[in-house]
């Protein structure tokens, strides 16, 4: 993401927010007095909403169930909402028109009953109301089209941009100084040339001309140039060799245009929801098609990409994703060790996955990269009895926090067997 774009994004966000606030002010709610607006109720409602409702509902979008901003916009009565949430079937069976219409609209998908108290449901409605009145800012950052390289600057982008600017500024200053110095030299030489009282030796210096021929035959200079050239070539070759087999930024085309940006970024679906193995297995698992079906039986059924999943299920043909992270067989890596025990964020190794439309390999996955992390990372020992004694022992002779390296994190047999 470029600097310019992000500025633009913020600006737009500001404008949008203002616009929404203005428009919200014009909407009138009949039950505005019944729905609390205090922060406590909203945050309670948010927690409840996220724990219980997000599987099927979103505030602004139709998912498995309707977009819940409807309840505010359609001005449903609070008792109706409460009874529907507590037992939707009862309301439907009672012949309530709206309920039956809803039920039919959503292919007679039953909403399970929730044993919430009226206060809890009210707080959820409060949260929905709050969200409806403050819609999230749509991200307008430019999405790289398939085929163009990813913007790898990622988290460190800003600082490296500053660095570049700094360097350019420095360069300009240096060039300016050079020009100024050259000017001074020429002025001084001119001045000295006019001076008649100069000694012979000094005059020679003043009148000496820049001799390119001499410079080119100068052994020291030639030696330096050859040395510099060899060093640069060698460095390039060695760097190139080190990159053999490294697939950093590898971004193959996948059989289905699945976007992590939509799922993990915008929908904020927990990684663990699809990558079920990440906390219990060595492999995080590419989700099986039945996991996709949890939502896509209802959502975006007509999308040609989703149709591909249906086809796979119908034909009993598994989806052949292209593997991006190819650790060699000789290295053993276990996701659960890092994610469950170490509580390492997915992004540490996989980069800003929530912004990727097409996933690419973020880290270089070299041994040096692994080792470096093991050297620097502090162990997550909090509340884990496996480490209690080790931490004690470690603290007896060290003031540094215990890192992975301190319990043999650099030993061969940690990863190679």
């Amino acid at each position: 993401m470029s600097l310019k774009n992000s500025f633009a994004g913020y600006a737009l966000a500001l404008v949008l927010t203002c616009a929404t606030l203005l428009s919200a002010g014009t909407t009138v709610f009949a039950q505005a007095d019944q729905i609390p607006t205090d922060e406590q109720a909203i945050s309670n409602g948010k927690a409840l909403f996220e724990d219980n409702c997000t599987v099927c509902h979103s505030v602004h979008e139709r998912v498995v169930g309707p977009a819940l901003k409807q309840v505010i916009e359609e001005n449903r009565s609070l008792p109706w909402i409460i009874s529907f949430v507590q037992n939707s079937q009862k309301v439907i069976q009672s012949g309530d028109k709206d309920a039956v219409a809803l039920y039919n609209e959503f292919n007679k998908t039953e909403m399970p009953s929730f044993a919430f108290s009226p206060e809890q449901i009210t707080s959820i409605v409060a949260y929905i109301k709050h969200e409806t009145e403050n819609p999230p800012v749509k991200e307008v950052a430019e999405v790289p089209e398939g085929g163009t390289g990813p913007a790898v600057s990622g988290g460190t982008g800003v600082s490296s941009e500053y660095l570049t600017i700094l360097l350019v500024v420095l360069l300009v200053v240096l060039v300016l100084i050079l020009i100024v110095l050259a000017l001074i030299v020429s002025v001084l030489t001119g001045y000295l040339k006019k001076d008649q009282q100069l000694e012979e030796a000094d005059r020679e210096i003043v009148e000496s001309k820049f001799d390119l021929q001499k410079l080119l035959t100068n052994k020291a200079f030639l030696g330096f140039v050859v040395f510099a050239f060899t060093a640069i070539v060698l460095k390039t070759v060695i760097d190139g060799l080190f990159m053999v087999g490294i697939q950093q930024n590898y971004q193959p085309k996948q059989p289905i245009a699945f976007s992590h940006k939509i799922h993990a970024g915008q929908m904020e679906i927990d990684c663990n929801y699809c990558h079920t193995g990440v906390r219990k297995s060595k492999s995080a698992n590419i989700p099986s098609a039945n996991i996709c079906m949890n939502c896509h039986t209802e959502i975006k059924k007509d999308s040609p990409e989703i149709q591909k999943i249906y086809a796979a299920l119908e034909n009993d043909q598994p989806i052949e994703w292209v593997r991006i992270h190819n650790l060699p067989d000789l290295a053993y890596f276990n996701h659960s060790q890092h994610v469950k025990v170490g509580e390492v964020e997915c992004q540490t190794c996989h980069g800003p996955i929530e912004t990727m439309d097409v996933v690419y390999q973020y880290a270089d996955l070299t041994m040096g990269w692994c080792i470096n992390c093991h050297r620097e990372t502090e162990l997550n020992t909090e509340g884990n009895d496996y480490y209690t004694k080790l931490v004690q022992l470690h603290n007896e002779h060290s003031k540094e926090p215990m890192k992975v390296v301190d319990i043999g994190g650099l030993e061969c047999a940690k990863c190679h067997y």
């Binding site: 009993d316 659960s336 025990v341 080790l390 061969c412 067997y417």
Partner: protein
């Protein structure tokens, strides 16, 4: 320290210091590099090499341009219980004929990769044998039939059923006879299915035979006690054990069960300085005989007389009338055995493997006089391991020849190969109208039948087993059937017109039969699930009958006098089963073929074991694998087999293994050795596996090589590798037998470990410190650990030729030492190979030295030390200098001389050379490539996995989390592994107790400070001398 030192030797060539052997043993690696085939003309030239290299560079640079696109293919519908990367375990049952073991199958991504013992079984108690361990590979055998066949052509199951039912109906309407021929069937449900078939077609008879019959025991028990069964034996209660030919630790009846029991009585500690005393009378040196305290060689023709003599000795003490047999027999240790049996009445056990009912009845009489029934022998709990009926089988052959049988179903049996009259059966089959086989491959019998209805592998089946009354064991499929096979029981049901699936059939039977037998679970569903989870369902047998001996001993005596002699002059042949190959039905399993025989240490062959004196008479000198062929003539059969000089072989006898000479088992087994089943004969109405007359053996000059590993990895001049003592000494001093080298320093003599050049790593072990303790008293040498390690760690099979080149890859080997019986001062006597040596087994794997000499010589730091005491090996860093192996005092490092995977030259290495076989590989362990060194890692993948499980649960790991494959497999619990820093671990407790006791480090004086400790062998002998 050295005053009572024996001389130990692994092979005769070592004892005699044969110059050829000495030359070879001084080298770690053979010099020659026979890479090109010997017969190939010219071989590869320098020019070829350049060509190959040029091509190689081109290929490598091309390959480097673009990385291959790899696919990641997830499930479409992920099964709830399967998580890629997480193993699932299913309790199941190994039943191969009558061989039984309760097992737990480890599966990864839905495919079985390892078999482990089920600790919940009261019979096998978590033990396994090499055959059980290896059986997982038989599932992935390419030779398995992939679907039903009719006249050699593919057919659908529906059509097959139609045709078979039509033919069966036709036979039934004619009133024709039908036979089902099988080995012992342990499954009551399958028997019920057979019974349904019987109900439908009337004249259908189920004929049962066993490749190694024990029918004589059944007959003897029927005549002695009125119960035609084989009783349960409990070696754990026996203080004096007398075995007559019975290899109960290796192959007899239920070796895993017996090893568990036996090892309990063999373990000694300061708290319990008592152990059983074991006498063995036998001809071949068997695994059991090699573990005996007193072993006596006898000829098979003496067996009956010996048992009668033992009876008479005991009868004399008991005041019972003597038998009129066994007179004039003089063998060592017999009187001593009788005396001790009598002194330990009710706590002794006499077992014999003879299939002669007269001998078995005499054994029953002995045990009866000693009051062993009810304590070490339980007739109320008979075993179902051997249900073969020799008489019925003999009658079947006659009926077949006479054309009285119109239909035969071979139910997973291969009598054409493994029955003595197999050839006759094969010939007569052409007279039979309907022939069906359910065997898994086109074997010797199956290739002669019309219809083949291949059965599932046991890992694909629902089934049950009843090894003993009240002990029920369930099999559950741990993989979807790989091929279009069908469970034999389901086939029987289908042919009987019952369309039930076998699973429901089994389920219903358990509902009606076993569910009411318990009261713990109130719903059948829970009961069924619990039984599946446990793998076993055991109900105590309430019977408590007392049996009175009613055998006719005078009849037995006359039968013995007729069939046995006290001195027979002719050569006698003993047909025996090997611990690895067994009856030969798993012969196509390369793991079993390459497992060194526990005694001869030979692989990939069968051979004649001869005594040293016979070899001397015939001028045969066997040096390592080089030997000669001998002509064996028995009656009108004649063939050639290689000879192996076997210390401990009774003079005048030769041993020859069954289970070889398969012709249609598959690529691995075909053509290995000769089939000697046809040599078996009949004595007293039962099949007899010893030939006592009409045997002629002539040595030829034809050279032959037998791939033996016994003298590989020999270290010379190391006298204290084996340390042992006798029980009486041990009682006086728990450190008896210690052989420790001392060094002289300016402060006087000190232990060799007191001074060190190395700083060592021990101070850095603060998290874990993995150690192993191996009880040499419990280890029987069975080799289950070797195969378990091979399965767990993807150890390649190298094949016969490479074993001959000393390049076997097993990470754990079992060194078998003989010791001479001459006194230490008798220098000449020490040079003579003992006729009946003592045997010691010592499992040796990487000792994970704290001051590892391999680490200091590696130029690329590919082998380094961990902070948990492990000597690590990074394969991808190794450049193959082999310095480490040269510097290893224990010779436990293995070098990959070749690429053993995806290499047609090693096509017998089926787990790595075909797609099906590769499914057995452990995905957590790398398959090593050519040119790298490898060795035992203490199963570091299991250590890492166990630690991770503990971390995830926020606790310290325990013994339950982490165990090595060898320790887990050991049926004798001889290997104990764990973290010594955890005071609760077994190994920590053993090390604490035995540090000032039996524990010793191998080659301690080198001060490499190994992490494997051995517990000194204690023999229950009166004196240190070998001869009593």
């Amino acid at each position: 320290m050295k005053d009572n030192k024996k001389t130990y030797w692994k092979g005769l060539e070592q004892l005699t210091n044969d110059p050829e052997f000495v030359k070879r043993s001084e080298k770690e690696f053979p010099e020659y590099l026979p890479i090109a085939e010997k017969n190939e003309e010219g071989g590869s030239s320098r020019r070829d090499f350049l060509k190959m290299m040029g091509f190689g560079i081109a290929a490598a640079s091309l390959a480097a341009c673009e990385a291959p696109v790899r696919k990641a293919i997830p499930y479409l519908n992920k099964p709830v219980d399967v998580d890629p990367g997480v193993p699932n375990y299913y309790a199941s049952t190994y039943a191969n004929g009558g061989d039984y073991c309760s097992i737990v199958v480890k599966t990864r991504e839905g495919r079985p990769i390892k078999i482990e013992g089920n600790k919940l079984s009261k019979i096998t108690k978590g033990g396994v044998s090499a055959q059980v361990e290896a059986s997982v590979l038989s599932l992935y055998d390419k030779e398995r039939l992939q679907g039903p066949l009719a006249n050699g052509k593919k057919i659908s199951w529906e059509d097959l059923d139609k045709e078979i039912i039509k033919e069966l109906d036709a036979i039934a309407s004619r009133g024709g006879q039908i036979r089902i021929v099988s080995n012992t069937v342990l499954s009551p449900t399958t028997k019920a299915a057979i019974a349904e078939l019987n109900n439908k077609y009337g004249k259908l008879e189920h004929v049962v035979y066993d490749p190694q019959s024990s029918y004589g025991m059944v007959l003897a028990n029927e005549k002695s006690f009125g119960k035609a069964v084989i009783p349960s034996y409990d070696f754990s209660k026996a203080e004096v054990i007398v075995g007559v030919g019975a290899d109960f630790l290796g192959t007899w009846l239920s070796p895993v069960e017996f090893t568990k029991q036996y090892s309990k009585t063999r373990k000694v500690s300061k708290k319990k300085p008592e152990m059983s005393r074991h006498f063995q009378f036998e001809s071949n040196l068997s695994l059991t005989g090699s573990n005996a305290d007193y072993r006596t060689t006898i000829k098979p023709s003496q067996e009956g007389q010996l048992v009668a003599a033992l009876y008479n000795l005991i009868a004399k003490k008991a005041g019972a009338p003597a038998m009129s047999a066994g007179k004039g027999l003089k063998v060592d240790n017999l009187e001593k055995a009788a005396k001790e049996l009598w002194a330990n009445r009710g706590k002794g056990l006499v077992v014999a493997s003879s299939n002669d009912e007269a001998v078995q009845m005499t054994v029953n009489a002995i045990n009866n006089l000693l009051g062993n029934y009810g304590s070490t022998i339980d007739l109320n709990l008979p075993v179902n391991y051997r249900q073969g009926d020799d008489k019925a089988m003999a009658k079947f052959v006659k009926d077949l020849q006479a054309g009285r049988v119109q239909g035969v179903i071979f139910f997973n049996s291969n009598p054409v190969y493994d029955y003595k009259d197999g050839a006759a059966i094969g010939k007569a089959l052409s007279k039979v109208k309907l022939t069906i086989a359910t065997n898994d491959r086109m074997d010797e019998t199956t290739s002669l039948v019309k219809y083949v209805a291949p059965d599932h592998h046991f890992l694909e089946s629902w089934n049950d087993a009843e090894p003993k009354p009240g002990h029920y064991s369930l099999s559950q499929p741990s993989i979807t059937p790989l091929f279009k096979t069908r469970q034999a029981g389901e086939s029987f049901l289908a042919w009987a017109g019952n369309k039930t699936e076998f699973y429901s059939y089994l389920n219903n039977r358990w509902k009606s039969d076993h569910f009411p037998q318990q009261s713990k679970q109130s719903s059948f569903d829970t009961f069924w699930k619990q039984s599946l989870y446990d793998g076993v369902f055991e109900v105590p047998v309430k019977e408590n009958a007392v049996f009175a001996f009613a055998g006719n001993l005078s009849g037995a005596a006359s039968a013995i006098n007729k069939n046995y002699k006290t001195n027979n002059s002719g050569v006698e042949v003993i047909l025996y089963q090997k611990v690895g190959i067994g009856s030969g039905n798993q012969a196509n399993n390369p793991w079993l073929q390459e497992m060194p025989d526990p005694i001869t240490k030979a692989t990939w062959d069968n051979y004649l074991t001869v005594s040293q004196s016979w070899a001397n008479e015939n001028g045969i000198k066997v040096i390592e694998e080089n030997t000669v062929l001998a002509n064996v003539t028995v009656g009108n059969q004649s063939f050639k087999v290689p000879v192996i000089v076997q210390p401990g072989q009774a003079d005048g006898t030769v041993g020859l293994a069954l289970g070889y000479g398969r012709t249609k088992a598959g690529k691995v087994a075909n053509g290995v050795g000769v089939n000697v089943y046809p040599l078996a004969n009949e004595v007293n109405g039962t099949v007899n596996y010893t030939i006592t007359s009409g045997v002629k053996i002539e040595a030829t000059t034809e050279a032959h090589t037998v791939a033996r590993t016994q003298t590989h990895e020999t270290y010379m001049e190391r006298h204290n590798v084996i340390q042992e003592t006798v029980l009486s000494e041990y009682k006086k001093d728990p450190k008896a037998g210690l052989d420790q080298m001392m060094i002289a320093t300016s402060q006087g003599t000190k232990k060799a470990t007191a001074i060190s050049l190395w700083k060592g790593h021990k101070q850095s072990y603060n998290n874990h410190h993995w150690m192993m303790a191996i009880d040499m008293n419990a280890c029987t040498g069975c080799g289950a650990c070797t195969v378990a390690c091979q399965v767990e760690n993807n150890v390649p099979v190298v094949g016969r030729d490479e074993v001959i080149n000393r390049r076997e890859m097993h990470w754990i080997r079992i060194d078998r030492y003989y010791s001479s019986d001459a006194a230490p001062e008798d220098l000449q006597g020490l040079e003579v190979a003992s006729k009946n040596p003592e045997v010691t087994f010592q499992p040796v794997m990487c000792q994970q030295c704290n001051n590892a000499p391999c680490e200091t010589v590696c130029p690329v730091a590919a082998t380094t030390h961990s902070t948990e005491g492990l000597n690590m090996m990074a394969y991808n860093r190794c450049i193959g200098t082999r310095y480490c192996a040269n510097n290893c005092p224990y010779k436990v490092r293995r070098f990959n001389w070749f690429k053993y995977f995806e290499n047609d030259k090693f096509d017998k290495n089926t787990p790595m050379n075909n797609d099906l076989g590769r499914m057995v590989l452990n995905p957590d362990v790398v398959v090593r490539s050519r040119g790298v060194m490898e060795k035992c890692t203490f199963c570091v993948q299991r250590i890492q996995y166990g630690k991770l499980s503990a971390k995830k649960e926020g606790r310290r790991p325990t013994d339950e989390d982490i165990n090595t494959a060898c320790a887990q497999a050991c049926p004798a619990d001889a290997i104990v592994f764990g973290d010594v820093l955890n005071p609760e671990s077994k190994v920590a407790k053993i090390m604490k107790e035995e540090e000032e006791g039996r524990a010793y480090a191998m080659l301690e004086e080198l001060n490499v400070s190994p992490n494997v400790y051995y517990l000194r062998k204690v023999r229950n002998k009166d004196t240190q001398k070998n001869k009593a």
